[in-house]
């Protein structure tokens, strides 16, 4: 009995236990970067995720999500081919981009902030992602936007025409499991 109780206690300490688990029904993972004064947009596909989220149990909420680095798409095929090379995403060595939450805090009702680790091109850096989580009767919308410095991850070199800062836009429609 004591063993069972211990297991229950341990499980309760794990993120996601007793939480709402969500699967991704539809997703948009995009980025924007200023190139020669023009806002260039792109997307990633191939999202794989594990999301546990309950606004009343944030300490036990969390997520990990990854995208296929080779799915980068800016609408210009040859540019995408270049982005996949070693100077940028180096998809042969680093095929997956992963983000994992460490802690989630509530800022306002439906507005949260996740402290995360972004694993990109072999570099792991802390990022903070403000996001909203709106629960509807049949689905939930999770939306987050944050900025990152591509130089921190050696995504290309310093450039006079390409900005260092990249805006990341995440939009997910989730269904509760």
């Amino acid at each position: 009995m004591k063993k069972i109780l211990l297991i229950i206690i341990i499980l309760m300490e794990q993120p996601g236990f007793g939480q709402s688990r969500w699967t991704v029904d539809s997703a948009y993972i995009g980025f924007q970067i200023v190139n020669a004064g023009i806002n260039v947009k792109g997307t990633f596909n191939g999202l794989q995720s594990q999301i546990s989220f309950n606004r009343k149990k944030l300490k036990k909420s969390g997520f990990t999500a990854s995208v296929d680095a080779g799915s980068v798409n800016t609408g210009i095929r040859i540019r995408d081919k270049h982005l996949k090379k070693s100077e940028f995403f180096d998809i042969e060595r680093y095929p997956v981009i992963t983000i994992t939450s460490i802690e989630i805090l509530e800022l306002e009702p439906q507005e949260f902030k996740a402290s995360c680790v972004l694993n990109l091109k072999g570099k792991q850096e802390s990022v903070s992602i403000p996001f909203t989580f709106q629960e509807m009767p049949e689905y939930a919308i999770m939306r987050g936007d944050f900025k990152m410095n591509r130089i921190d991850y050696q995504i290309g070199e310093k450039s006079l025409i390409l900005s260092d800062s990249v805006a990341i836009n995440i939009w997910l429609r989730l269904k509760e499991q």
Binding site: N35, G37, I76, I78, K85
Partner: protein, 528 residues
Amino acid sequence: MLAVLVCGFKCYIEGMSLLRWNRSILPILTGVLGVIAIWSFRTGLVNIPKTWDIEAIEKAHLDPPDTTVKVVFAPEEYYNSLPEHIIYKTYPVYAKPYEPPGYLDSLRQLEPEIVFDINKISTQEDWIKAGEQVFFWPPNASDENRVFNGDHLDSAYLAGSGDPITKDGIYPFAKYVITEKGQISYGDLSCATCHTRVTDEGTVIIGAQGNHAFDAGFGYIMEKYKIPVDVVNMGVYQLVGTPWFPDSKSLVFSRNAEELIEDLKARPLGVMSRQGMGYQLPLSVPSLIGIKDIKYLDNTGLMRHQGPADLMRYAALNQGMDMLTSYNGYIPLGIDNFTKLPTSDEWDNPFGYHPKRYSDAQLYALTQYIYSLEPPENPYQFAQELIKRGEQIFLEQGCVTCHTPPLYTSNQLTPVDGFEPPERHLENHDIFNVSVETDPRTSLTTRRGTGYYKIPSLRGVWFKGPFFHNGELATLEDIFDQRRLNDDYVPTGYKPSNVTTKAVKGHDFGMDLPTDDKAALITFLKTL
């Protein structure tokens, strides 16, 4: 030099124990230095680089993509043993129907006049003027070279070859030379032969992508004079053969005269055979205007260009020395089965070059002239709104990444399909490491091959064309025509004579833009 003198002078003054002399000596020495500086400027004292410096050439010259292929340049002793060109005054050649009556007789009355004399060069302006003489000097002009003496420039030739002439009837690709009173030589193969463009209005743009009907003209002459193909084939192979590609030889020697003539005539103006290119891989002639800012020379980025010295070496190579370079043991002008350098007596260049070289001063002057070339005034008048829209599309489409203002090139090389840049190239060269998927053969299978193409500058694109490495596309509009990617496309520029259709692939940017946006983009490009 002035900086060194001032620095040395300052150190000397600081070391003097009798500092009190400073006040009296300083103004005097400063005055002397000033006089020296002014004198240096006025006399154009320049440190003329040494052209044939093998170490420097090897450093600037990119290797072939096949690293087993060894390129060995002619030794310095050999180069230095060649006599220097003596550059005489040259005279216009008229197309025969436009030649003023008695013109040649009037030339026969003239004394020969040497126009390049280093002792008469004292200012930068003098260097540029002297360089102009070098630019127009036809290195194959000699007393022996009177095969045609301009007589071939009749109406039938002009119509048959499409060779353009100026509104005054001048044929600007050749010059008459007088090296002996009473004797006129017809000469070409100067820099101006390939880098002179005659506009539709009959004006001339010096240094531009030339439009001399080099190949079509030769095809016409071959046909007219019934020159046997066997006589021509070996010369063609010397010109464009790549010995480490067996197909290269069979391609050249399998053609009969009709096929060769047909292919020569298929080369549009602005596209020509060139030594080191491949058979049926003619060259889209580059423009020299603005080249001072360009870091690599040749479509394949064959040589780095970091200043006049590199351009001098490039010019020396392209005006004959590359034909004396050993490509994996094959010397295009070599004797003993193309394995040894010829002596002057053994020299047998099928293209008219003589066993001579330019002096370092001549080549330096040439670089100063080329650097001084300016684009002509743009005759196009477009609505500002349309230009702005085109510029916005240029930015949105990411053109700016490679064709970066203000040069409208990033001055980088892009690898071709089939070539992976080694790490040392990525470290030592300016490489934008993605192929734009154009036809890689020029850079993989020719003597000028490097595994790369240079990102061309779009400046002055309004007076250039045909486009792409082998001049397959006649206009900017054709570049953005999606149909060119299909196998049933009929190239609007050079189309090998043995095919009826041919896809012109690669650089497929902006293909699916709406028609209006394409027009705006092209408008913007024509303003550069």
